[in-house]
Each structure stands twice: as structure tokens, then as C-alpha cells.
Amino acid sequence: MAGIGFELKRIFKKDSLFSIISGATYSTVVVIGPTILVMATILATYVFLGVSNISYAQRELLSAIILYIFIFSQIITAPINCIQSRFIADCIFEERFEDILPSFYMGLLLSEIIGFLTGLPFAIRMAVVGKVNLGFVFFGYVFFLILIYVFYALTYLTATKDYKIVAMDFFVGMVLTFVSSMGLHFVFRVEETYAILIGIMLGFFLIGVLFVSYIKHYFVVSNDSYTKCLSYYKKQTSLMFGTLFYTMGIFVHNFVFWCTSDHLVIVDCFYTYQSYDMAACLGMFTNISAMVIFTVMAETKFHDIYQEYNEAVIGETLQRIHDAKKKMFRLLMQQISYVVRVQAIISVIIFICAVTFLPDVGFSGLEMTVYPALAAAYYCVFIMYCNIIFLCYFNDNKGIFLTGFLFFACTVAATIYSCHLTPEFFGIGLLLGALVGWSYSFFRIRYLEQNFDYYIMCNMHILYSKREERPSSLIYKNGAFINGYTKK
């Protein structure tokens, strides 16, 4: 989200109630607007097409396929995006703008190949084992590939720092989704499930087209060296896996519950646990404002202080470097504690509202029993996410990897245990995983603070390091030059 700070600073320049409301709205629209917009559109198509009236099997198949596509496209693109994102950042810093567009194509090819290969067995299973209509399988598969593309391209679009365009493109895409779904059903008499699936696919396809046109318009020059970015996958392996584990950690507790005996199996392919999944969704939305708060703070204040520190390292005395470091970490701790406090208040308010009002609109029973623990768990997940972003600022790939891994591993282990407990404690698995990840990332930041001089000034290589033994220094022996010595 680098760059929204400029806009926010402009908005917050006037210290008025209006500017605060404008800033908060802008941040919300930019950070979580597209997510909310997509969910609202899907919900709207469900309502307007009367999905509640179609058969349970069809309805659940549609919901499951959409759920799976969103989850797995995120898991596939997240590790690729983080690498591409770092590559873009370096290109921009080193002013190698001509490398960006080729890297876009290479990353796209990579993500689509992975998406194609991972999605194919699933699509075949749907068709062969699940006996799902081939058309439905085809549209689902295409939608999966399109969504991978959109999530991938989003990284490049955020690099342009034009967040209004992102929000606008999503808006246009979702309008098309709604309109096409309605048109397909009411004009062309297409079945509701097909109409919704094709509508969403078309909407995201349009978003993708708008994204690529903007990216090509923005990054005009290209040197056609497509493979340059690939070296980053080798250099930044820990970052890639850290991100992969973090993203999987967000969903892995669902996967564990999908494997329990109370799960729902749809067409022998899709495993879900509706009450738990819904509670998880509520838990996530209870805390998602943490991302908005954090992004606003990090982009408006921390980014500048971090820049100040970097400039001090390059051209200041040690005293000034240490002063800048103290200032930076003081602010960092202030921001972490601010997010923790403010988000706690927001989460509690939303939680009280949820438990008060949601039963009246149909949420009851198991969902609401599971919800409290998951609300607490997602609170920790988002706070941990803030720490991960700080670790990203410091290029601490090791810290990111270990945070992601600990979060993932502990969530898996604890969820395997918690799924055997009473429903109130189902969410304990994610909560424990997030607590471990959060704690580790926090202490990692403290560790970095204590060793920051070493970390910034020494944590790099100055020499080309080779695996092989040092070659013999001998160039001449008993009357002859050796070792292919040809300098004579």
C-alpha cells in the first residue's frame, strides 16, 4: 500500500472533522473497499436471482466453487506477488523501469502455469467423480485462472500507487457482474448458478482487462528481458515461503475443519464446514479495520521516518544514525500499541453488535458459538500482519519466514486439537497459531531493534561467495604454466 500516504497527508492537512472523516473513508475504500464490494455484489446477485429458492445442492455447489476459487487463487498468487513486488520495488529504486513490464509477463506466466496445473486435477475430479456439468466446470476453471490473473496484476497496479483506479476498476467490474448476471438469467434464461458464475467471471475479466491496459499504459518501456525477475525467486526464497505459509495459515484452520466428521461434502469434491466457515468470515470482518488503521499510520508516518533513517545511514554520523533509529523504533512501538488498543475497542464494539443483532438476521446456533474465539483469533492475525509489514520494511526475510511458518504450523497443530473440543473452543487453533506468530514477530522486531546496526550495515555480502574450494594459487610448475594459464 506504499503511496497512499501522499493522498492521506493531503487529506489530513486540514485538521478538521471533515478531513478526518474523508481520510478514514478514503483509507477504507482503498484498503478494504474492493473486498467489501466483491462480497456485496455476490450477495446482491444471490438475492436478486433468488438463489435461496434453487435446490440446496446447486446453491451449495455454487457457494463452494466460489469459496474455493477465492481461497486457492490467493494462496497461489501470494508468494509470487511478494517476490514480484520486491523486484518492482528494486527496479523503481534503481530506475530500471524497462525491467518491470517484462517481469509482469514472466510472473503472469508463472502464476498461470501453477494455477493451471493445480486447478486441472480438481476440474477433472469435478467432472469425472462429481459428475458436475462440463460447462459449469469450464466456467469455474476459467474464473479460477482469471482470478489468479487479477490478484497477480493487482501487485503491479499498486506499484503505480493509483489506488483510485483500483477501486474504480473493481467498481466497474462488479457493475458488469451484477448486470450480466441479471441479463443472463432474466433475458437469456440462463440458470441462476450459471448466470452468477459467468457474471462474476465476466466482471473479473473486465477488471483484468482494465488492469492490463493501465499497467501497459503506465510502464511503457520494456527491454524484453523476461527472465531477470526469476533470480529473485532464488534469492528471496524465505520471503516467498514465509508469505506462502502466512497465507495458508489464514485458511488452514478451515481446511482442518473441512476434514472433520461434521463436514459437508459437495459433489464428492468440495469439503466445507459451513458454520465454521461463516464464523471465520465474521471473525475476519470484525477485525479487518486493523488493516485500514495500520495502513494509514504506516503510510502517513512510519514511511517517512524509515526514509529518514535510511538517509542517515547513507550520509550521517553514527550519532545521527542512532538518533534516527531510536525515533523510528519509538514510532514503530507506538504504532503497534495504537493498532492493538484501537482495534481492540473496534473489535469489541463490532463483536457486541454482532452477537446482539446477527441472530435476528439468521445467524444463530453453531456460527455464533464458534464466532467469539475466531473473532479473537483474527484480531491476533491482523496484528501479526502489521508486524510482518514492519519486517518487510526491514527486508527481514528470515523473520517473515519464521513468523509465517510458526503461524502456519501452530495453527495446524492447535486446530487438529481444537476441532475435538466443544464448539466454543473451535477457534482456539487459529488463536494459538496467531498468538505464536504474533509473539514471534514482535520479539523479532525487538531483536532487530537491539541488533539494528549489524542488521543494516553488515547483513549483506560484499564478496562473490563461491561454493568450491579456493583454486590453487600455482600458475607455473617445473618449467610449464599450468591451470590453463594463458596470460603469457
Binding site: 554520523t317 560484499i462 579456493r470 594459487s473 600458475i475 607455473y476 610448475k477 618449467g479 603469457k488
Partner: protein
């Protein structure tokens, strides 16, 4: 006896000076086996062998001042022990360095230069020193300067040193430290034979250098002083070409009792039948045997010749020596000749001096730095007087350090065009004086005899190794 000779930036890639001495020493001591360690900048540099390698050279090793880091897969990251920390600290910033500890550090493990220079220990000691002495300069500059100062030293110490019966360094500096490392590793004697005074030369170079910021000149200079401290401390014997150098060595911390004066030597007989000047040659030929490089100050010589040539049209200048070491400088010299429209200046390139020296009427050496130039002795061997600048032991050679025969030439101040031109004109106009000076020079050669010189080294080798059989 297996002798390991360690040379920096010279043999067998650079002709003249120290390289010539090495070639002659090895050739004159066929009874010994020689292993050469030649210090060069990096693996990738292009180099050309300038000498025919004598048959008693069994091995030549290249040690690189800048090299990659090897053996990554076999290393563990480890901190320095308290003793090592103190030793490195004194190497970087203190005095009285514990070189034994540093040598042991490199000898006991495969050292990663990358890990050492980027270690927390290195950063900590840099910070300590910075806070005490440099706290107003940009820290990152300071840190990187220190890394660049020590990288070449660590790079050569990380190389595997061949075993020998005796280590003979042709200078202090990096060569001296490697020789000391050899002595530490294999408990074998160490000889330092200095032709110039390495530390003084580096000091002069650093003071003039634009690539070293003013703040850091002291740091660089103090490091080279530490290297010479190490070499002088470990050396069993140090040789010097003449008294002046000996005094400088003592000044730089070498114990006087270790120093022996061993002047250069020339094989005068080898010059006895050199071709002489054609009587019909109308020119008065001035010979300059030197590498065309800034340190030889060829430009001052050309300027002086231009002045002299204006007054005496018979003069002709022969610049004899390699022109491939500093091609830019060579081009500038040639451009100067052409721009100033100076007639009768010949750049012969690398030649066999014996083919030319006898044809010269007198010789010139315009260097701004020298030790005890062999070319002057070769000129003397050809009965030719020399005009030289007052550097190194030139004065001793011209006026006589060991005799009272008289002047074998004229000594002029460094970079003094007018005095050099006057000396050229004086020589040109006074044939009789030239002849007299040439004969004095020839007589003086006996004090700088090749056999005496290399005989002295044979004795030193035998003494150091404890072998009395050399006299038999």
C-alpha cells in the same frame, strides 16, 4: 635449499628494477630452488610474462589482493574469541599488534573474508574507534574505508602459502606480512631485502592520491606502517641497498642489528664489448634507460632536452625502455614532443641496453623516486657518465660512497628542468669531462660487483638456514 621469494606488483609481470634484480639473483644462484609468490591485484587482470623463467624456479604462485570468497559450503559462522578480538582490534586501530594470533586465526580455519569483514565483531570495533576518533565523519564512509583497507590483507592471508626453507620478501607491505606468515606457519627464517622503502613510497602515494579522502589518509598510512612493523618484527635479517635506506628502516621501527647493507651489483665484464658510437655519427647522444612512467618523470627530461636542444643542435635523446606500463603517459610524452616540435627524440621501446649504451655519449635518469638504480651501474660499466636526479642512492653512486675517485656524473634536483638542461649542455660541451667521469664510473663499478652482491645473498641464505657449506 628451497627459497620462497615474495614480490609485490613486479616479477615476472613488470620489467626493470626489482624484477631485474630477482631475475638476476635467481639466475646467479642455480644451486637453490626458488618458489615465487607474486602479489597481483585480481584474477581477472591481464598480465604478460616479461621474463624467461629460469630453470631453478620450480613454482610460481599468484596471490590476489582482491579475490572472491571460496568454500562457502564448508564454513560455520563464528564469533572471534576474546584474544582474536583484541588482536584484530590492535591491528585495525591500535599498536603492537598480536600478529601471532592473527596468523593463527587464518591458519586454523577456512576464513570467509565476507563473514569476517561483515561480522558484528568488525562493526563493534569500528564503532568503538569511530566514537573515539572520527565521530564527525559520515559513518558508512568510515566503515567501508576500513573494509577496503583490510580486504587485500585478508585476501592474501586466506591464500595457501607454499612451504619453503626460507622466506625472502622483496619489500615490506603485503609481501612482508606474507613472509611473516610463512615464518609463523613453518618456523622458517625470514629475510626482507628492500630496494626502496615500501612504507615511505606508499605514504607518498597516499598523500598524493585523490582516491583517498583527506580524513582517511592517516588511516591508510598507519596500516602500511603496521605491515612494516610486522615484517621488521618477524624478519631475521633485513637488507638495505645503502646507508640512507638503512636510516629510514630504523626510523620505521626496524632494529638496527637486523640490518645489513648489500649494494646492487653489475656484471661489468658483460658490458666490455658493447658496440660503440660510429665516429661519423654527428649527434651527441643522450641515453635514458627507463620505463616510460610518471615515476621516471620523463616529461621533465623531455622539457630539459628541449631547452638544451635549442642551444646545441647536436643533441639527440634516446628514451629506451618499456612503453606499455602506462600507455596514457607514454602518449602524453609523445604528444609533448610533437606539440613542442622537439627534434631528435627517439622512443625505442624495450631494447637490449647493451646494443645502445655504448653508442651514447652520456646517460640521464630523471626519476622522482629510486633505490639504487642498476641502470646507473650499467652505464658505468660502459664507461658512460650519468646525469641523475637526487633520489635514492644516486648521489652515492655519482659522487662515491666507498671511494674518492671523484664525480662520475652530475646530480641535479628532482623536477628541475633548467638544472637538468644545464647539466646536459655542460656534458655536451665538455667531451673531456665526459670521458673522465665515465672512467671514474667504470672504476667505481668494482664496489658494486655482481658476484659480490649475489655472493652476499648466498651467505645470508646460508647463515639464516644455518648451513655452513656455502663457503665450500
Amino acid at each position: 635449499m628451497r627459497i620462497c621469494m615474495i614480490v609485490e606488483g613486479a616479477y615476472p609481470y613488470v620489467a626493470g628494477g626489482v624484477s631485474s634484480w630477482v631475475q638476476q639473483a635467481i639466475t646467479n644462484m642455480p644451486e637453490h630452488e626458488f618458489v615465487i609468490i607474486t602479489l597481483v591485484a585480481s584474477r581477472d587482470d591481464k598480465r604478460e610474462i616479461k621474463y624467461t623463467i629460469p630453470s631453478n624456479v620450480s613454482e610460481i604462485h599468484e596471490f590476489y589482493l582482491q579475490d572472491d570468497d571460496y568454500g562457502r559450503s564448508h564454513r560455520r559462522k563464528r564469533s572471534l574469541s576474546p584474544e582474536e578480538y583484541e588482536a584484530f582490534k590492535t591491528l585495525f586501530f591500535g599498536t603492537d599488534t598480536d600478529w601471532d594470533c592473527i596468523f593463527e586465526y587464518f591458519a586454523s580455519q577456512k576464513v570467509s573474508l565476507d563473514q569476517l569483514l561483515m561480522s558484528n565483531d568488525f562493526l563493534k570495533m569500528t564503532m568503538e574507534f569511530y566514537k573515539l576518533n572520527y565521530n564527525r565523519v559520515v559513518f558508512s564512509d568510515f566503515l567501508w574505508t576500513l573494509r577496503s583497507i583490510y580486504f587485500p590483507l585478508f585476501s592474501v592471508l586466506a591464500s595457501k602459502l607454499p612451504e619453503a626453507d626460507l622466506y625472502h620478501c622483496l619489500s615490506t607491505g603485503y609481501a612482508g606480512v606474507i613472509g611473516s606468515y610463512g615464518k609463523y606457519l613453518y618456523k622458517k627464517p625470514l629475510l626482507i631485502s628492500e630496494h626502496g622503502i615500501y612504507t615511505r613510497e606508499r605514504e607518498e602515494e597516499i598523500i598524493k592520491a585523490s582516491w583517498v579522502a583527506g580524513t582517511y589518509k592517516d588511516l591508510w598510512i598507519s596500516q602500511f606502517r603496521k605491515f612494516s612493523d610486522c615484517a621488521y618484527k618477524y624478519a631475521d635479517m633485513v637488507t638495505s641497498l645503502y646507508e640512507g635506506n638503512k636510516r629510514l628502516q630504523i626510523e620505521f621501527g626496524c632494529p638496527e642489528e637486523k640490518i645489513v647493507i648489500t649494494p646492487n651489483g653489475v656484471d661489468a665484464a658483460a658490458f666490455s664489448n658493447v658496440p660503440q658510437k660510429d665516429p661519423s655519427d654527428p649527434y651527441i647522444n643522450i641515453g635514458a634507460v627507463l620505463r616510460v612512467t610518471p615515476i621516471k618523470d620523463v616529461k621533465t627530461m623531455i622539457s630539459a632536452f628541449a631547452i638544451a636542444k635549442e642551444k646545441d643542435k647536436r643533441l639527440k635523446l634516446w628514451i629506451m625502455g618499456p612503453t606499455d606500463e602506462d600507455e596514457v603517459y607514454v602518449a602524453e610524452c609523445k604528444e609533448m614532443v610533437s606539440y613542442m616540435q622537439i627534434e631528435d627524440v627517439e622512443f625505442t621501446g624495450r631494447v637490449n641496453v647493451k646494443d645502445y649504451m655504448g653508442k651514447m655519449d652520456f646517460m640521464v635518469l630523471s626519476s622522482i623516486s629510486e633505490g639504487q638504480p642498476l641502470v646507473i651501474l650499467e652505464g658505468f660499466a660502459c664507461h658512460r657518465p650519468y646525469i641523475t636526479t637526487n633520489v635514492g642512492d644516486c648521489k652515492g653512486l655519482i659522487y662515491g660512497s666507498f671511494d674518492d675517485y671523484g664525480d662520475a656524473g652530475i646530480v641535479v634536483p628532482v623536477m628541475n628542468t633548467v638544472k637538468l638542461a644545464d647539466a646536459m649542455l655542460y656534458m655536451a660541451e665538455n667531451e673531456k669531462v665526459r670521458h673522465t667521469m665515465g672512467e671514474i664510473g667504470y672504476k667505481r663499478c668494482k664496489y658494486y660487483d655482481k658476484d659480490q652482491c649475489y655472493g652476499a645473498f648466498k651467505k645470508i641464505y646460508a647463515d639464516l638456514i644455518g648451513d655452513p657449506s656455502w663457503q665450500e
